[in-house]
Amino acid sequence: MIDWNPLLITFKLASITTILLLVISIPLSYWLANTRSKIKPVAETLVSMPLVLPPTVIGFYMLLALSPSNAFGNWLDEWLGLRLVFSFEGLVLGSLIYSLPFMVHPIQAGFANLSPSLKHASYVMGKSKFLTLTKVLLPNMKPSLITGIILAFAHTIGEFGVVLMIGGNLSGKTRVASIAIYDEVESLNYGAANTYSMILFGITFLILMMVYLINGGYFKKWNGND
């Protein structure tokens, strides 16, 4: 029988990361889709960096920055009592950065695809920007939101490099499924590695298929006007 903890940690990590990313990405994507600021290209580049950068690079710099022997890590430790290296909280922070583009890109595209006259119509009716966002814009881009949520969740499940660098491999604390597989293979325990792998394979297949079904309009109800 395999140890279920790595899978539980993986899904706990993916769920928390996805919820936090949604909260962060809605305002960030809204800003990116609407701004004409000169720093927009810089911000877009930073958001997209995790797509191409080896995860070990992100993990390495986070390890350096967050280590209590450095100024920032020390400050976090002393003032907030947060030790982010080799802890679950650190994994969440790493995952937020690592999966950010997967949440921001679909939502930004969703905002950009909405006709500006929807927003304008709401403003001339006297509605505030916040009310316009929550009652008019977001409800009309549900497929983009669902795509962002699913991709960010699935991508966090597949994380390996960042987690290994800043989380280490602490059983029951930071050992996620992808690392458990590596661990089992290293100790020639192919049976357990196969079980973990099959479970991840099946779940990611189902999750991604949902994206395509939703975007293909197979669930008509979810496409904005139910």
């Binding site: 006709s115 006259s117 304008h120 119509a121 001339v124 006297g126 009652k135 008019v136 006007n225």
Partner: protein
């Protein structure tokens, strides 16, 4: 500018400048006009002349580089005094070319959303009555035809009881029959709610039918203003009957040319001499006028 309050007739005082970047390079929008309260004004001109931008500036959806805008004595924009009233506080009705109905709400919900805080709902029943939306209230916008959508958009623009109604080519995507019907609704609400209405339109018959006053724009500037009928006919005809239409076909027979003109949805054949016909081309907008003193009158139905 100080005498706006004294002069009650001039409701809207416009002096707006904005640099625009378009596909044909940079253009300076520079509009000076004053519009009277309760009048129906049409803005006419080629696409890219800056008509929609002017409407967005009036609504506060865009900020001018410099200028002044006051409506009924209230200053909406004054770049010298750094005043820019946000669109939320201008209380205007705005109908967009692509309707802009909220797809996630039913027709009724679209109308309810437009209510101001604590505003009684009775206005919605009144608008549903005037614009015949009774049957459509529970439908989703995606299931409506173009004409139905635009009726809902018109009603929704009037929920907050605006004094100023801005219509950005609201009828251009509709077929002729629907246009004529919508024009009647627009005229009716214009009169019923004593609106000051500004319409953007390319359709000559529509402009003549609806508007009291017309402004022609080109390259960001007003090039002509005046009474629509006389602006389109250049004051040359003094006729009892006149219609505008489009030349569909021209057939030469000996010394005359039979010109087929589409007026509304009717085809009319008009005889023209070949000299006159030389100036015409298929697709031209033309005015058909008659000075007949003894027309035949038939009662319809």
């Amino acid at each position: 500018m100080e005498d706006i309050s004294k002069n009650g007739m001039e409701m809207i005082e416009i002096q707006l400048k904005k640099k625009l970047k378009s596909s044909s390079g940079e253009m300076l929008l520079n509009v000076q006009a004053s519009l009277e309260e309760g009048k129906f004004t049409t803005v006419y001109g080629k696409s890219g002349a800056g008509k929609s931008t002017l409407l967005m500036l009036l609504a506060g959806l865009l900020k001018p580089d410099e200028g002044f805008l006051s409506v009924a004595g209230q200053i909406w924009t004054d770049t010298v005094k750094r005043i820019h009233l946000p669109p939320q506080k201008r209380n205007i009705g705005y109908v967009f070319q692509e309707y802009a109905l909220f797809p996630n709400m039913t027709v009724k919900e679209n109308l309810l959303f437009a209510l101001a805080k604590k505003q009684p709902k009775s206005i919605i029943d009144q608008l549903v009555e005037i614009i015949d939306l009774g049957q459509l209230q529970d439908r989703m916008p995606l299931t409506l035809s173009g004409g139905q959508k635009q009726r809902v958009a018109l009603a929704r623009a009037l929920v907050s009881k605006p004094k100023l109604l801005l219509l950005d080519e609201p009828l251009s995507a509709l077929d002729h029959e629907m246009r004529v019907k919508l024009q009647s609704y627009i005229l009716e609400v214009h009169r019923e709610f004593k609106l000051t209405t500004i319409l953007i339109s390319h359709d000559v018959s529509e402009i003549i039918r609806l508007s009291d006053h017309m402004i022609e724009m080109d390259h960001g500037k007003i090039i002509r203003k005046g009474d629509p009928a006389s602006m389109f006919t250049n004051d040359r005809v003094n006729a009892k009957f006149q219609f505008t239409g489009e030349v569909i076909k021209m057939v030469k027979q000996d010394f005359i040319v039979i010109v087929t003109v589409l007026i509304g949805k009717d085809l009319v054949k008009v005889i023209s001499n070949d000299k006159e016909a030389e100036t015409l081309q298929i697709g031209d907008r033309v005015l058909i006028a008659s000075k007949a003193f003894n027309p035949i009158i038939h009662k319809i139905s």
